[in-house]
């Protein structure tokens, strides 16, 4: 039987479901293109034109310009594709984690380490 129970929220966590998928398709498609070196170069050469080509909406464009991961997620971005965007700037998952949690990278690394104790 299909059960479409509303799941309780998990704090600080966005489930990338159909609702998010509908919201973020253009943004995610652009980020997926960054697998290719030529695409990364094209983006670097003219960010605005590149975003326009993929039909990003204003919220998505603003989040890309701000390099702000929480805003990108809110605009429908999926972390697997956003990681390729972050890669253009040489950001690691720890840099991205620090940005999202409002910690310094050092504090974020320490937070990770402590959970192993």
């Amino acid at each position: 039987m299909s059960t479409h129970t509303i799941q309780e929220e998990i704090p600080g966590t966005v489930i990338f479901d159909g609702r998010m998928a509908m919201k973020g398709y253009a943004l995610n498609k652009m980020c997926y293109s960054f697998n290719g070196a030529a695409a990364r170069d094209a983006f670097r050469a003219d960010e605005e034109a590149y975003m326009e080509k993929f039909g990003l909406n204003e919220q998505q464009k603003a989040a890309i310009r701000a390099r702000n991961v929480l805003q990108l997620i809110d605009a429908g971005g999926n972390i697997y594709y956003l990681a390729k965007f972050a890669g253009i700037f040489g950001l690691t998952v720890q840099d991205v984690g620090a940005q999202q949690t409002g910690m310094t990278v050092e504090a974020f690394k320490e937070y990770l380490r402590k959970q192993g104790e």
């Binding site: 998990i10 600080g12 966590t13 489930i15 290719g36 990681a83 998952v93 991205v96 999202q100």
Partner: protein, 280 residues
Amino acid sequence: MARIIGGLTSSHIPAVGNAYARKMFEDPYWKPFFDGYPPVHGWLKENRPDVAVVFYNDHGLNFFLDKMPTFSIGAAASYENQDEGWGIPTIGTFEGHPELSWHIIEGVVNDGFDVCSCQEMAVDHGFTVPVQLFWGDREENPIKTIPICINTVQHPLASPKRCYEFGKAIGRAISSFPGDEKVVVLGTGGLSHQLDGKRAGFINKEFDLMCMDKIVDEPETLAKLSIHDLVREAGAQGAEFILWMAMRGALGDKVAEVHRNYHIPISNTAAGLMLLETRA
């Protein structure tokens, strides 16, 4: 008939690929992670499997949201590791075993699994890092591979129970292949980690250790977890544990734990390594 001799699990963190390329095996940050692997190397040298069937998840290299299959099975003669958009050096192609792939695909479709067959498939770190960690130089330690990709990108994801059952069907199919191949099954990814959102950096040691314990003799208990349970307890990307469940399903009823390692953190992740041997 082909025979499954054991199962291996490993994290597949991209940063490991980098550290491996730079041979940072003795670096203090990396040593507790890399030190888990030599016992498995010894076991592989002794048991010499011919094929590795690798449950992994694609991270946006071969699959995009335009066509996102739940279960995909590689059926190619070889699989290429391609640029994922950031710094990991690509590490060439991996040899396939298309005859066994097709035998598996026929078996599982016949068993009511709705798979996507892939006659061409680029593989990312989710597949390449564990194969490299276990086999190293593939010239020296040749291994045929069959990548089996399970969707962890677009929800709804297949439940732990469905993945466990899928693994069982894969196991039955392998065991009915007319050949004398020795097969190991890999479950890659996990354990607890979360990359995105305000909860980024979340790790749950207690839950991970429970999973490593129970997956040996009580996988049915873990099969009762929902995806929502996994995301809550193991983090958004901790849902990759479904790949371990598929691996475990393929091993059959009885297994013995031969080796394990658990270390926090590598990158944002709790890294878990296990070697399970099948028992009659």
